[in-house]
Amino acid sequence: MHTHHPLVGRALAGPHARVNMRPVEDCARFILRIDPQNLAAASTIWGGNLPPTTGGLVSASGRIATCIGPDEWYLIAPLAEQDAIESAFGELYATTIHSLVDVGHREVGITVEGPEAVLALQATIAFDIAAMPVGSGCRTIIDKAQIILLRQGPDSFRIEVWHSFADHVWNLLAGICREIELGV
């Protein structure tokens, strides 16, 4: 399932680059849908706080959880923990109605970092990237491709995009990074 990574081996980075782009190594990804009233139960299973409000992002020990809708969470974890998470949530089905869907085969991660990362993303995303709070995530559109954008630090972003759009998004951002390097 994880054999084909469309961006493997690609990277745009250097010690003096103003924007660094790297593909993220494969990881386990889930979409969790659950009634917000039962969030505490899900947090216990997940082993960390799930952010209660839309846009919230909690990142700890290799796991990332972001709330992308009133009852929808996007979860990222190391591949090694995938089976444990699935079976733990499987047991939760007995007591709490929810849905945990593995979307790991569908998504590709790209990190965009560096002092001009905001500028690079702003070139093709229509909302105000600079105003996006650090430690937040949302679903949005990048040149007609739907992505999940996570802001992990002031100059550190992560894009989660579908496999089939990954090449397009990469090439688009690579072109923008090139323009920034050249000062166009």
Partner: protein, 100 residues
Amino acid sequence: MLLIRCPYCAAERPELEFTYGGEAHIVRPQNPSSTTDDEWRDFLYIRSNARGIHYERWRHMHGCGRFFNAVRDTVTDKFVMTYKAGLPRPDQAELEAARS
């Protein structure tokens, strides 16, 4: 590009992320089997086509995925306010407050 405030995300988002959902506050027939043909026609097809203030549904398709309601002026294309689905129509005072 229009910026639309999603009441669920509590953020201004670009129009690209949204899809239009037609007029809001259209009440479904309570008792469909006894609804007459004329009432069905009105429910399905007859819309107010307002010039000015229009109450309409939008969906934050490429965001939180939720349907919500918006008040938009069809003449100026400006959004007066947005509010969560299921809430009643905002009254005139609320619209005035949102405008100022």
